[in-house]
Amino acid sequence: MDNPLNPNRKKQRIDDLAATAGTGGGAGSVAVADLTVGDAGHIAESTGVSLIASAWSRLRRDPVFLLGAFITLAFVLLAIFSPLIAPHDPTAGLLLKEVRPQTNPIPGARPGYPFGADSSGRDIFSRLIVGSRQTLIVGVMATLFGFIGGLTLGTLAGAIGGWVDSVVMRVVDVMLSIPSLLLAFSVAAIAARPSQWTVIVAIATVQVPIFARLLRGSMLAQRGSDHVLAARALGVKPSAIVFRHMLPNSLSPVIVQATLVVASAIIDAAALSFLGLGNPDDRQPEWGQMLGKAQQYIYDHPALAIWPALCIIVVALGFTLMGESLREALDPKSRR
């Protein structure tokens, strides 16, 4: 049904990605065959080895992946242990006495406060460390919600087919035609009282159509494949076929997409804050929010923006490096 030269490239890219895993057992066996031809010495190890395992053997030696994984791991550990690491309470106005609203609203760096404080006298260094947690929550939850939404729509469309498929995909196409952040802004604007959760839902909405197309594509590709046919012939229930046979085989492109989405979700949260659609409550610091709110003093105190921005760039880069190398490792076509 899909010509490889289908001009609609955005959809095509998503579908392509889906198809690499979509052939189900097929993709795995192609990948394994690829590998056995390449290193004959490891036949015993690679026959029957899943796509994931063969990808892992490549990833272990990939410096790009290792760097990305290192950054991500460090970020997650920081998020977990942040309250223990931060030197000060991130919510206490410790330098409030130094804040001069008229002359100098931002207390500068001083011993014990390497990056100074913000306009409420709160230690920026501690806020950056503690902010890792909320940043991780925004990135992961937005991805998770986007995935769940896409999973529901994609499975509905791919597994049921027919008119359900047509209706769902038309809506998905329209969502894709609205420029991504504009869609996120519109969703965020619906909330009467913006909070961390409205930010998460807004960012997740943008990801729903992408995940939906991805999953539907691989479901469709698998419908006619041998392992689904075999399961059906054995009398396996349709729901079990969808959830136990088709879904697990669709997951590898989804994992790639999810890794990349975490990065863009963190960046998008900053953009929402920049436009005043972010979480107004800054007692729990978040990097995107810190960067967005720094705009107010940005020309006199650029450091206020530069530190959270650097944190976002490093973490987004970490997830992107990991996602891109995962994509290459899981995609049999890119093995060269």
């Binding site: 010509n3 030269l5 289908n6 001009p7 609609n8 490239r9 955005k10 095509q12 038309r170 809506v171 196409d173 329209v174 969502m175 035609s177 609205i178 420029p179 991504s180 952040l181 504009l182 802004f185 519109s186 604007a189 619906i190 909330a191 009467a192 990065a263 960046i267 900053a270 953009a271 920049f274 436009l275 005043g276 659609l277 960067l291 705009q295 940005i298 020309y299 650029p302 923006a305 921005a309 976002i312 760039i313 490093v314 987004a316 880069l317 992107t320 490096l321 891109e324 060269r336």
Partner: protein, 336 residues
């Protein structure tokens, strides 16, 4: 060919219809409902009732949608409430659209002009230092929040170094004549070359910031596509036939490698519209992006619905044009 175009046009109409339905539902779900959305929270009860009647909010919902669609087709979206109070929202959009088109065209020229040659060079030197370095650079480029990059450019080149103007589209007091709304074109048409040059200087920083992400994407697609084509049998055949490397590069490699790049360029228009919201905000550029950002900040929903609808329609139309261009370049697409 004609059938291809007609089929794509019918698809496009379908997308626009569903899109209008989404915008309609979006307006209704805004905090306080449609009336508050258009008049603001503080409108007098009489005005609210009048508008409710004018909008036919007492009618069944499908009648309401029909009314909405009819008004939308006539370009009647009500007046702006906050951004430019009293101005017709659609007029406001048309008045500010040229600025964004001008900015986007410069940005896409930059992105294409740098992305294709660099992507080609990276592929030719596959796995070299240049190749790996530029891949990393393009990944970093995607990880930087656009508005932060715009700010950095503005801070160093405009505020610190005074090389380029800080904001706006043209210096005040030049007395430039404006006929088309495209300031560079205006300057050239009226032979006010200093005005044109001034407009160009105002375009440099915003377009650089806006071009980063499309540049990174075009660079990577070009590189991947050239790598793929270099592996093809016909390139090897051309080499073994003894064709000069110039003919091979131009006619065999580039010609075929650029096909997917063409579609990518079309898809980047969506990203440009989103990037323009953030970039124009930083530079107070006064285009659609700036208007959307203000409208979100001040919750001017009349303006927003025009902008969302038009942005999506622009995106769909540009992609239709790209698809047609693609079908002209590559006849295989038409048969689908």
């Amino acid at each position: 060919m004609l059938r291809f175009i007609i089929r794509r046009m019918i698809q496009m109409v379908g997308v626009v219809v569903v899109l209008s339905l989404l915008v309609f539902l979006w307006l209704r779900s805004l905090p306080g409902g449609t009336v508050s959305a258009i008049l603001g929270e503080k409108a007098t009860p009489e005005r609210r009732a009048a508008l409710e009647k004018a909008l036919g909010l007492d009618q069944p919902i499908y009648v309401q949608y029909w009314q909405f669609a009819k008004r939308a087709l006539h370009g009647d979206f009500g007046a702006s409430t906050k951004v430019l109070p009293g101005t017709d929202a659609f007029d406001l959009f048309m008045q500010r659209f040229p600025a964004t088109i001008e900015l986007s065209i410069v940005a896409i020229i930059l992105a294409v002009g740098l992305g294709i040659p660099l992507g080609y060079m990276a592929a030719r030197r596959h796995n070299s230092l240049f190749d790996n370095g530029s891949i990393v650079a393009s990944l970093v480029g995607v990880a930087v929040p656009v508005f932060f990059l715009a700010f950095l450019l503005k801070y160093y080149f405009a505020i610190k170094l005074h090389w380029l103007p800080v904001s706006g589209r043209q210096s005040a007091g030049l007395g430039a004549t404006h006929t088309t709304g495209f300031f560079v074109l205006d300057g050239l048409l009226t032979r006010e070359y200093d005005a044109a040059w001034d407009a160009i200087k105002h375009l440099i920083l915003p377009s650089l910031a806006l071009a980063t992400i499309p540049f990174a994407v075009i660079f990577r697609i070009t590189r991947a596509s050239v790598l793929e084509v270099l592996d093809e049998d016909y390139v090897r055949t051309a080499e073994s036939k003894g064709l000069t490397s110039r003919v091979i590069r131009g006619r065999h490699v580039l010609h075929n490698a650029l096909l997917p790049v063409v579609t990518t360029i079309g898809l980047q228009t969506g990203g440009l519209l989103v990037g323009a919201i953030l970039t124009e905000r930083v530079f107070n550029f006064g285009g659609i992006g700036d208007t959307v950002a203000q409208a979100f900040e001040q919750r001017d929903y009349g303006v927003l619905q025009v902008c969302i609808l038009m942005a999506a329609i622009t995106f769909v139309v540009v992609n239709l044009l790209v698809d047609i261009a693609y079908a002209v370049i590559d006849p295989r697409v038409r048969t689908r």
